[in-house]
Symmetry: C2
C-alpha cells in the first residue's frame, strides 16, 4: 500500500449565507491552488466531491470551473461523515496506484437535505438529529449523573476556541451560565448545546509518497484509517457509548501502530455537546466515566487538544465539508501552522467523524 499524504488545503468561511454549492466548492478549491507550491491543474488525477446537496455531477462541474480534466471524478455522500468517506476513497485511489494526486472538495449549504433522514420516519420522530442527541443526553445523565453544567463546558470551550478560527461560524464566547440559560430545544438539550448547519466548503489535496514533497516541505501522512457502519437507524441498546466510534478507533490505531495516549491533538464530531463527552472516552483519550472531567480540565487550563478550531459547535457544521475541515485543522496543527490555535508539540493527530447517531463512524490518524 503506497503512503498517502495531505499536501494542500483550503477553507471558506462557514456562514449562513445563501451561496451556490458550485461557488462554495470552487472557493475552497481556489484556496488550495493559491496556497500549494507547484500545483497545476494538469497534475490532478481525481476530483472527488463530498456533499449532501441534491445537485448532480458536481465532480465534473467543479473540474470544469477550476480547469481540471481528471481521470477520476464523482460525488460521495454518507450524511455527516461524507467528508471523511470521500477522503478515504481518495486515499485508496492513491494507495492502490490508480492515481497520484487527488483533490477532495466538500461543501454543503445551510439548508442542505442531509439534516433529515427521511427513511427513518417509520421509526418515529428520529429524523431530526436533536432527538437522538437528546436520548443520548438523557441516558448519560441517568447512568453517569452527567450535569447540564458539564455539557455546557463542552460548548463554552468550543465556542471560545472558535474565536481563533477565522473561518468559524461562531464569533462569540459564552459563559457557562449563558449556555445553561440558552433556549431549551428538548428536555435535555439547549440551543447552545447544538452545532449549526452552515454553508461552507473545505478542500484537501492528497498525494502519493512519490510526489508529496513537490507540494510541501511538511506532508502530513494518513497513517491510520478506521470505519464502521452498524445500521442506518436509531436502534442501539446502550445509549451511553458510540459503538462504531470504538470499532473505527480500534481499526485506525491498529493500522497506524499507535495508541490513544500518543494523540497530541484531535478533531471530534461534537454535533451536540454530549457527543464530545462520549467520544473522548470511546476514542480512548479519556478513561470511561471521566470524559466530563477530562474536557473540564482542558477548558480550565486553556488546553486546545480537543477541537482546536472550535469543533462543530464553534466552527459550524456544513455536512459535506465537516470531515474535510477537521483534516485541514489537524494538518495545520501537525505542520505547526495553526497560529493562535496551535497545540504545542503536535506530532500525531486524530480525526473523528460520524453520521446519524454514530451509526457510522470514521477515525483517521495523521502524522507529521
Amino acid at each position: 500500500m503506497k503512503k498517502v499524504a495531505v499536501v494542500g488545503y483550503g477553507n471558506t468561511k462557514f456562514s449562513t449565507d445563501d451561496i451556490p454549492i458550485e461557488s462554495l466548492l470552487l472557493e475552497s478549491t481556489k484556496e488550495v491552488f493559491n496556497t500549494t507550491n507547484n500545483l497545476s491543474q494538469d497534475l490532478i488525477d481525481g476530483v472527488i466531491v463530498s456533499t449532501n446537496d441534491n445537485s448532480k455531477y458536481l465532480g465534473a462541474i467543479l473540474s470544469e470551473l477550476s480547469g481540471i480534466k481528471p481521470k477520476i471524478s464523482h460525488t460521495v455522500e454518507h450524511l455527516c461523515s461524507s467528508g471523511t468517506a470521500a477522503t478515504v476513497s481518495a486515499f485508496s485511489y492513491i494507495a492502490s496506484g490508480l492515481a497520484d494526486i487527488i483533490l477532495v472538495a466538500g461543501a454543503d449549504k445551510s439548508d442542505n437535505p442531509g439534516q433529515v433522514l427521511d427513511w427513518d420516519r417509520s421509526r418515529g420522530e428520529f429524523t431530526r438529529p436533536i432527538y437522538w442527541a437528546s436520548m443520548f443526553t438523557k441516558a448519560h445523565k441517568r447512568k453517569f449523573n452527567t450535569t447540564e453544567e458539564e455539557l455546557a463546558v463542552v460548548s463554552a470551550k468550543n465556542h471560545k476556541q472558535a474565536l481563533d478560527n477565522p473561518h468559524a461560524y461562531s464569533h462569540k464566547a459564552y459563559t457557562i451560565p449563558e449556555i445553561m440559560n440558552s433556549k431549551n430545544i428538548t428536555d435535555d438539550l439547549r440551543m447552545l448545546d447544538c452545532s449549526y448547519s452552515c454553508s461552507g466548503s473545505s478542500s484537501i489535496l492528497l498525494a502519493s509518497e512519490d510526489i508529496a514533497k513537490k507540494f510541501t516541505d511538511s506532508p502530513v501522512w494518513i497513517s491510520g484509517i478506521g470505519q464502521k457502519t452498524s445500521s442506518a437507524s436509531f436502534t442501539k441498546n446502550d445509549l451511553t457509548n458510540l459503538d462504531t466510534t470504538k470499532s473505527a478507533a480500534d481499526i485506525a490505531y491498529n493500522m497506524a501502530k499507535a495508541t490513544a495516549n500518543e494523540i497530541d491533538v484531535a478533531e471530534i464530531h461534537d454535533a451536540f455537546s454530549i457527543c464530545e463527552l462520549m467520544a473522548v472516552e470511546d476514542l480512548g483519550l479519556a478513561k470511561k466515566t471521566t470524559g466530563a472531567e477530562f474536557v473540564r480540565n482542558l477548558f480550565n487550563t486553556e488546553n486546545r487538544q480537543i477541537n482546536p478550531r472550535g469543533g462543530l459547535i464553534g466552527a459550524g457544521h456544513p455536512l459535506g465539508a465537516t470531515g474535510i475541515s477537521q483534516i485541514v485543522e489537524i494538518t495545520q496543527q501537525l505542520q505547526n501552522k495553526a497560529e493562535k490555535r496551535q497545540v504545542s508539540n503536535a506530532n500525531k493527530g486524530l480525526v473523528h467523524n460520524m453520521s446519524a447517531a454514530a451509526t457510522s463512524s470514521t477515525v483517521l490518524i495523521l502524522e507529521s
Copy 2:
C-alpha cells in the same frame, strides 16, 4: 496493486414500476447472496451504492436491510456513469489493501433526477440529454452522410438482443421501418433511437485475488481501468467523436496490456443510437467512419459482440444501475453463463459507460 475480481452479481427486472429505491437496491443485493457460493454478511468489508436518487445514507440503509455491518460505506454519484465510478472506487479499496470484499449496488427509479443537469441551464437547452444527442446526430449526418436507416439498425439490433435478456425493459423486436417511422422527438432523433429511464437495480460483489475463488470457480478480473472527465458542459468543438471515451480506452487498454482487436464482447453506452456508432469507433472496435457498417454487419449476422443484453436502448437505463448491469453482463459472458445471449469464445470483454454527452467516460477491461 492487488488483483480484483467480480465474483458475484444480481439484477432486478428493469421496468417503469414505482418501487422505493431501498427496495430496488435490496432486491439485487439479495440476488447476489442467493447466487454466490459461501457468501455471508460478515465477510463484506464495504457497501457502495451507486445512484442519482436524492435519498441520503443509502449505503447504511442497504447495509441495515441486508444485515451487513461494513467498514466502508457511502453513495457514489456521477450521473449516467455512477455505476462504473462506484465500481472503480470499490476496486481501489480492494487493490489498496483497505478491504477484501465489497458489494457495489446500483439503482435508480424511472423518475430519477439525474436525467436533467440543472447546472447547465445557463448554457441553453441542453439540460435534457436528447438535445446533445440530436446535435451529435446532425453533425454525424453532415460529416459522414450517416443515414436514418443506419441509426435504426442500432436500435433494431439492441431491441432484438434484449429479447433474450430476462431483465430487459423492452420485450419487443422492431423492424427497421418501424423504427424509422417511430415518433420524431427532435429533427434528428425518433422515439426508438432513445434509451428509456427505468426503475432497476444491479449489484456486483468484488473480491481480492486472495479470496476470490472462495465465491466462484470463475472469477472475472478487472484488468484495465480508464476514466476521463473533460468538462460538465456541452462545449465540444468536434461533435463527431467522443474524446473522453478515446482517452479512457487508451488508459484502460494500456493498463490491461490489451488491444481493441482482442475484445470478444463489449457493453457500450448507447443512450441514443448515435452513441453506439460513435463509440465502436472511438473504442477502436471499428475503424473510423466504418461504425455503421460494423454494426450493420453484426445485425445481419446475428453476432452479439456489442451490447448482448440489449444495451441501454433494449435493456433500459436506470442510471445508477447501468454501469453495474453492463459489468454483470460481461461477467456472465466471460463465465460462459450468458445462456441465449452467449458470445462464443468470450475471454476478454469491455465495458464502456459515459455521462452528459461523453464529457465523462469510463472504460473497463474484464478477463476470465
